[in-house]
C-alpha cells in the first residue's frame, strides 16, 4: 500500500491530532534507538524519547518543510535533549548498558556470554565517549542501517563528509580502545607482580 509522505502527514497533523500519532509511530523506534545508545539505559531512553516527541509536537505548527526528512528534525531535537541531559548529569556515575540483548551470541556457555557482554560494554562505553556527531554517525550506520546518502541527509552534510567522518571516527575509536587495553594490561601486570 502507498505510504503517505512525511510532508503530507505534517501538513495534516497541524489540523488533525490523530495524524501526529502516525508520525510518532513511524519514528518512535529510531529515536528510541538513538537515545538509548547515547544514554546507555532504557529508563532514560524512555524519558528522553517522550521529551523529544513532546517538543516536536509543541513546535509542529511552525515546522517548515525544507526538503530534509522529518527524521532529521526529530534527531536534532533528540540531540539537544540528550545534550541537556548530559549537562544535567555531568557528575553522575557511568551506568552500564542494561538489558542489552546480545543477538549475535549463539553460544550458551555463561563464561563466553560474560566475555562477549564485557567486550560489548567496553566498546559501547568507548563509543559514548566520542563527540556527539560521531556517536550519531555510528548509530545511524550500524543500528539504523542507513546508507551514507541517507545519513548525509539526516546530518545535513555531504556524502563525502560522512565518509571522511566515518574514517576519522574509526581511527579515534581504535586508538581509544588500544589505550584502554594497554592500560588494563598494565594494571593486571602490576597486580600480578604484587
Amino acid at each position: 500500500m502507498h505510504e503517505e509522505s512525511d510532508s503530507a502527514l505534517i501538513a495534516r497533523a497541524k489540523e488533525d491530532p490523530e495524524v501526529f500519532g502516525l508520525l510518532y509511530e513511524r519514528y518512535v523506534g529510531n529515536i528510541y534507538n538513538y537515545i538509548y545508545y547515547r544514554t546507555g539505559n532504557h529508563h532514560d531512553a524512555e524519558d528522553l524519547t517522550a521529551r523529544t516527541f513532546y517538543r516536536a509536537l509543541k513546535h509542529i505548527s511552525r515546522y517548515e518543510d525544507r526538503g530534509a526528512p522529518f527524521s532529521a528534525y526529530l534527531y536534532r531535537i533528540a540531540h539537544n535533549v540528550v545534550a541537556n541531559w548530559h549537562r544535567d548529569h555531568s557528575r553522575r556515575q557511568i551506568i552500564p548498558f542494561d538489558n542489552l540483548v546480545i543477538m549475535t551470541l549463539e553460544r550458551d556457555e555463561p563464561a563466553a556470554a560474560a566475555e562477549v557482554k564485557d567486550e560489548q560494554e567496553v566498546l559501547l562505553q568507548a563509543v559514548r565517549r566520542l563527540p556527539p556527531e560521531r556517536q550519531q554517525l555510528l548509530i545511524l550506520k550500524f543500528v539504523e542501517q542507513m546508507s551514507n546518502a541517507e545519513i548525509a541527509e539526516v546530518m545535513e552534510r555531504t556524502e563525502g563528509a560522512i565518509k571522511s567522518l566515518y574514517h576519522r571516527t574509526l581511527v579515534t575509536l581504535r586508538k581509544e580502545l588500544t589505550n584502554e587495553e594497554n592500560g588494563r594490561e598494565e594494571t593486571t601486570g602490576r597486580t600480578s607482580d604484587e
Binding site: Y36, L57, K163, H167
Partner: protein, 127 residues
Amino acid sequence: MNEERVAEVLAVHAEGLIGRPEAIQQIHVTDEERGRLAPLFQLAERLHQHMQPVHPSATFARNLGQELVNNAKRQIMLTKRLRRATLIGAAALGSLLSIASVVGAIIFVIVRLRERTHARAIQAPTG
C-alpha cells in the same frame, strides 16, 4: 594510500556489513589495502555486531502515543480558541471604531453648525 581512498574503502566495507554487498563490488580493493585496513575493518565488524537495534517496551510506546495524541488535541483546540478569540476581538474593535467614527462625525457636524450659527449671530446687525 590517500585519505580519500581510505575513507571510500571503509565506507563501502560498512555498506557491505549492513546488507549492501553490491557497494564493495563497485571498487577494487587490493590485498595490500585489505591488509593495511584490516584493524579498522575488524573494528567496524565489532561495531556492527554489538550495535544492534533495541526496541522500546510496547506499553511505553502505546502510552506515550496516546498521551501525545491527547496533548495534540488540546493544543489544536487551544489554537482554534485563540484564533476565534482573536477574530471576535478584531470584529469588536472594528465595530467600536466604526461607532466612534460615526459619533465623531456627528460631533464634528454639530460643532461646525454651532460655529456657523454663532458667526451668523455676530455678523447680524444689531438694533
